[in-house]
Amino acid sequence: MATEVQGEEGGLVFHPMDQFKVEPLFGGDVIAWYTPTNVTLWLGLTVLAIVALLILGSSKRAIVPSRGQSVAELAYGFIYKMVEDVCGKEGVKYFPYIMTLFMFIVFANFLGLLPMAFTTTSHIAVTGLLAITVFLSVTVLGFVLNGPAFLGLFWAKEAPLALRPVLAVIELISYFVRPVSHSIRLAGTMMAGHAVVKVFAGFAVIAAISPLSIVAITAMYGLEVLVAFIQAYVFTILTCVYLKDALQPAH
């Protein structure tokens, strides 16, 4: 994409993908698995932000909450209700895991919106790991809780007998596509939005276009704020839906 735009615009230099580069924090070229990188920095900031909201915000334990505490309580109630509504009562014991997922994604998305920030959730390595973790734990949980009966998930009992094998194949494929769509949806939307903002920012170099460019950036940014929350919500609620399949495969 960078090269294409460069070719069309001649003198303009666009590097919309540079913001996604993983670089070591303290110099050096080699990125070993333990090297502190900008990924590490922004993951750490995510943890700090979560601590700031949920721990510092609720530190007063006020009956009448302060603003920070209200937000922390809202987040708690939002996810708790989601888990309870989607998975039922027996899903509530997985609430901390779901909450971990949601808080991580929502804070990573929002921190990624800061100028000069590195968006950890725009990387398929991150979202892929999240999605695969969800996929594997749900599958294992499904077999542990239901035994072979978990396979009933793929055997649509309402359908006519002749159609059932066909449906089973389709269900099986869709089941295995889940982690792919789950991860690419989040990484893709994050990356696309940030890249588009960057491209608009590149146009701001030309004086005649710059006002339009700034308006466009502002609009995109507003959209990205929405997307940042909605994608975290979507990821979380889909996790709940998958978890519900493991808890009650006969749907």
Binding site: K21, T35, V47, L54, R61, A62, E73, Y76, M191, V196
Partner: protein
């Protein structure tokens, strides 16, 4: 979304499979598909998730849950207390109404009693007054009767005297008994 899929299938995927794999540092393709630092990202992500999970499950969630439960308890208690107070207020209002009704009834009783008393007194006074009036009337009547009797007598006397004087003036000897009889005769008629 279109841009992203386009990139993934076109530019990026080619880079990822060809260019990026061989030359990670100067790759012009998607940094997301540069597998050389996947290990690094996954390691730090796992660390992050474990830390977040521990923070949430050990500190944040129990605390917020406790706050919410406590608030719920407080609200329930307050509502119960409010119900109690309301019941008390109702009871107090009832007592007040009852007291008011009692007082009103008592007042009415007192009014009736007083009225009866006054009526009795009035009746007694009226009776007394009537009696007095009757007595006075009787007295006056007897006085009037006396006066009338006196007057008749006086008229008789005067008439007799006048008749005697008239008879004497006409030059005859007045016959006392005849004059008296004639006057009495006239007085009757």
């Amino acid at each position: 979304m279109e841009t992203e899929t386009f990139e993934t299938t076109g530019d990026g995927l080619a880079d990822a499979t060809g260019l990026a794999m061989h030359d990670p540092d100067t790759a012009s393709g998607l940094p997301q598909l540069d597998f050389s630092h996947f290990g690094n990202q996954i390691f730090w992500l796992v660390v992050t998730l474990v830390v977040i999970y521990l923070i949430l499950s050990r500190v944040a969630l129990p605390r917020i849950g406790a706050i919410l439960a406590e608030r719920q308890g407080t609200i329930t208690n307050d509502i119960a207390v409010a119900e109690d107070l309301k019941a008390q207020a109702l009871k107090a209002e009832e007592a007040y109404e009852k007291a008011l009704a009692d007082a009103r009834a008592q007042a009415q009783a007192i009014v009736a009693e007083t009225r009866a008393e006054i009526q009795a007194e009035l009746d007694a006074a009226l009776k007394e007054a009537d009696a007095e009036i009757a007595a006075r009337t009787a007295e006056s009547e007897s006085a009037i009767a006396d006066i009338r009797a006196g007057a008749i007598e006086a008229v008789q006397t005067v008439a007799t005297d006048t008749a005697e004087a008239l008879v004497a003036a006409m030059g005859s000897k007045p016959d006392g008994a005849a004059i008296k009889a004639a006057v009495e005769n006239r007085m009757k008629g």
